[in-house]
């Protein structure tokens, strides 16, 4: 089973941009692993969340036919910590996209909601968690004849369902 690091998409514009949301909670064991008595979300997992958001954006651009692999983290600059109870937004924007791969710029922001659940802080400088540049490779196009399994082992159902749920765009009633 893959470790899905985003909870849902809240915006998805094919070939252009996507925003995914993740709630961070004390119930996640790994938050306790880095510093005793001071739980935070490890930066590496923030990069992973951005990679998943951006990876699905890149994969969808070619209807998930390509095996999209995170090939390079060009830059990752962190501005603040993410702690239990925080909700974060992974904002991915396509810079370049072609048959060989894609480059993405990402911003991770804290979602600061008021009592009515409205976002009052996202986009402001003090809500900025990280700026991340990623490169993705369509590996079948870039490996000079090296063969990979035919089935797309990157985009499992768990990933594609995230997008399907966003597109469902309806309230599920009991």
């Amino acid at each position: 089973m893959r470790w899905i690091w985003i909870d849902k998409f809240i915006e998805f514009t094919p070939r252009t941009s996507a925003i995914a949301l993740k709630n961070c909670t004390l119930a996640e064991e790994h938050l306790h692993d880095l510093y005793p008595d001071f739980p935070i979300v490890p930066h590496s997992l923030i990069v992973e969340g951005m990679a998943q958001t951006a990876g699905i954006l890149v994969g969808e651009a070619r209807q998930f036919k390509e095996k999209v692999i995170l090939a390079k983290v060009g830059r990752a600059t962190f501005h603040r910590l993410v702690r239990p109870g925080d909700t974060i937004l992974f904002k991915a924007t396509v810079e370049q996209l072609n048959e060989q791969g894609a480059s993405i710029t990402g911003r991770v922001e804290l979602l600061n909601q008021n009592a009515d659940g409205l976002n009052v802080g996202s986009g402001s400088a003090d809500m900025l968690v990280a700026e991340i540049e990623l490169m993705f490779s369509h590996i079948d196009q870039n490996m000079s004849g090296v063969k990979f399994p035919e089935h797309n082992f990157v985009f499992t159902e768990q990933f594609t369902e995230l997008l399907a749920n966003y597109r469902l765009d309806s309230t599920i009633t009991l």
Binding site: A71, K72, G74, E95, Q96, N98, E99, Q100, G101, S103, M135, S137, Q141, N142, S144, G145
Partner: protein, 126 residues
């Protein structure tokens, strides 16, 4: 855009893509051997060049692909005369003088220098 202006922009692209210092970049620096580029960095460099100069770089145009796997072009680890002719056609921006003296396939990366990129971009902007 002058040669110097293109060189300055290419330098910025390489600093950003490869995380090297300004002074490591010289016209004769080999992208792989001297600047430490790995295979995925070439895609990164290509993307950044496209953006910096507002150009399109078709696959295989900046550096030919799959040459080493073609028996017409490589025999026993050495690039054949036909291979050299093909490389010259596809890489008019590179200097072949040293390579032709000992055209081992692993020396092909030496054709891809900072100056070769600058000349390639110059050609695209004409």
């Amino acid at each position: 855009m002058t040669h110097e202006e293109i060189y300055a922009k290419v330098k910025d692209v390489l600093v950003d893509a490869l995380g090297v210092d300004d002074d490591e970049i010289t016209p004769t620096a080999v992208i792989r051997d001297d600047l430490g580029a790995e295979s995925i960095d070439f895609l990164d460099i290509m993307f950044r060049l496209e953006k910096a100069f507002n150009i399109k770089i078709p696959k295989g145009e900046l550096m030919p692909e799959n040459v080493a796997n073609d028996p017409n072009f490589v025999n026993n680890g050495v690039v054949t005369p036909a291979g050299i002719t093909m490389l010259r056609e596809k890489m008019p921006h590179s200097n072949f003088t040293e390579f032709e003296k000992d055209p081992k396939v692993e020396a092909m990366s030496k054709l891809f220098t900072v100056e070769a990129i600058v000349k390639y971009v110059e050609g695209k902007l004409k």
